[in-house]
Symmetry: C2
Subunit: 230 residues, 2 copies
């Protein structure tokens, strides 16, 4: 009201503890819908920060990234889920692949339940407004069929196209603001799984010419995507 905003909760903690804002400083905050607002810090109280002179910051449409992860050992996947939440991934897709953990059992349900807990905890302690949506376990091809027509599609592959080139928009189209990133399980996607994703419009993208563990590749690719396309 009156060009003022009282900020509490995660954004207040972000402003005071991470950003270490002081009275009189211009800062930016996110509202609940991912819009960015700029204002001047007027007052800092223990549980809230008041901003004055509020204005919306003109930004590109927020980047919407879906990360699909081949199921495998729980620990590396939990660390990927935690980093993906910090990096504001909007949707996580557990992929049932040929390699890795493919059996349809309670183990898969327990694994995905754990993703929910990790994502919720990373949201509480981090800077994002809401945890990623976690959809039911699905095979890669079925998932690929659900993507929006204009979404950028990448599948990590050490033999794929090097990274910045792999992200170039095709045929003079605008750069996508929505991306789907598929990361195979430890042991990799099979050639057949890769080819099916390519048939669904996925680009085989290589982050670097070295073999990386799934964890390094997934977190690195998310950061490199965000760093490159905003």
């Amino acid at each position: 009201v009156d060009g003022r905003l009282v900020v509490a909760g995660v954004e207040h903690r972000y402003l005071t503890r991470v950003r270490r804002a002081r009275v009189g400083e211009d800062v930016e905050v996110l509202d609940g819908d991912g819009r960015r607002l700029r204002g001047t810090v007027e007052r800092i109280e223990p549980t809230s920060t008041t901003l004055a002179g509020l204005a919306a910051v003109a930004v590109r449409e927020p980047l919407s990234v879906t990360l699909a992860l081949g199921l495998g050992r729980p620990e590396p996947l939990a660390r990927i889920v935690r980093a993906a939440t910090e990096l504001a991934v909007v949707r996580l897709v557990p992929l049932r692949c040929t390699r890795g953990l493919s059996r349809d059992s309670g183990a898969v349900e327990a694994l995905v339940d754990r993703w929910r807990r990790v994502a919720a905890e990373a949201t509480r302690s981090g800077g994002v407004v809401r945890p990623p949506e976690i959809v039911p376990v699905t095979p890669p091809e079925a998932w690929a069929g659900t993507l929006a027509a204009d979404a950028g599609r990448l599948v990590l592959d050490v033999d794929g196209e090097p990274w910045p080139a792999a992200l170039r928009p095709r045929d003079g189209e605008p750069a996508p603001r929505s991306w789907a990133l598929a990361v195979g399980p430890e042991g990799g996607l099979t050639d057949e799984e890769l080819e099916r994703l390519v048939a669904c419009g996925f680009v085989r993208a290589s982050l670097c010419p070295l073999p990386l563990r799934v964890e390094t590749a997934a977190v690195g690719a998310l950061a490199a995507l965000r760093a490159l396309v905003g």
Copy 2:
């Protein structure tokens, strides 16, 4: 000899287990000095792969990345060291900062000894030829004074310049092939430490506008650097 190369050890394991090369396929391998060679798989044996028609691949000077890490809790640092080794960082610098683990004690030595073990193990199981050099613990400013004049210099800072812009070469200079990346401890570098690094030519670079844990930021920045500059 005779345009043929017998590949054993890490590169053989990479070709057969990670790359899953087949006879007749064209592949690339690294020699011990980081040069890239291309050849056709002629024979695969249990402990070696023979390549024929060998030729050097013309590549840019290999990227040389030094990663300096503010000391803090051992577990996240060990995971960063592991990922940095996979991503072929050439030098790791343990930074004694104001925040984080700063006391000069056996704890620091044990921490850095552990880095050596983690880097050696990641080299054995990964695709790089040699582990990063690990230099003695040093304060940030003393380290900054040792860098080559033409090295790109980045310090991660959530309020810094957004990522691709922060890496642009200055004043029409060629893009550096040597980079120094500083990552503060949990709790961050102090304003004074940041300002001193800026005085030494460091650019405050922001990987994404969200606060990230040190682990996510460091691994993400290394991958984004490699993905962007090759």
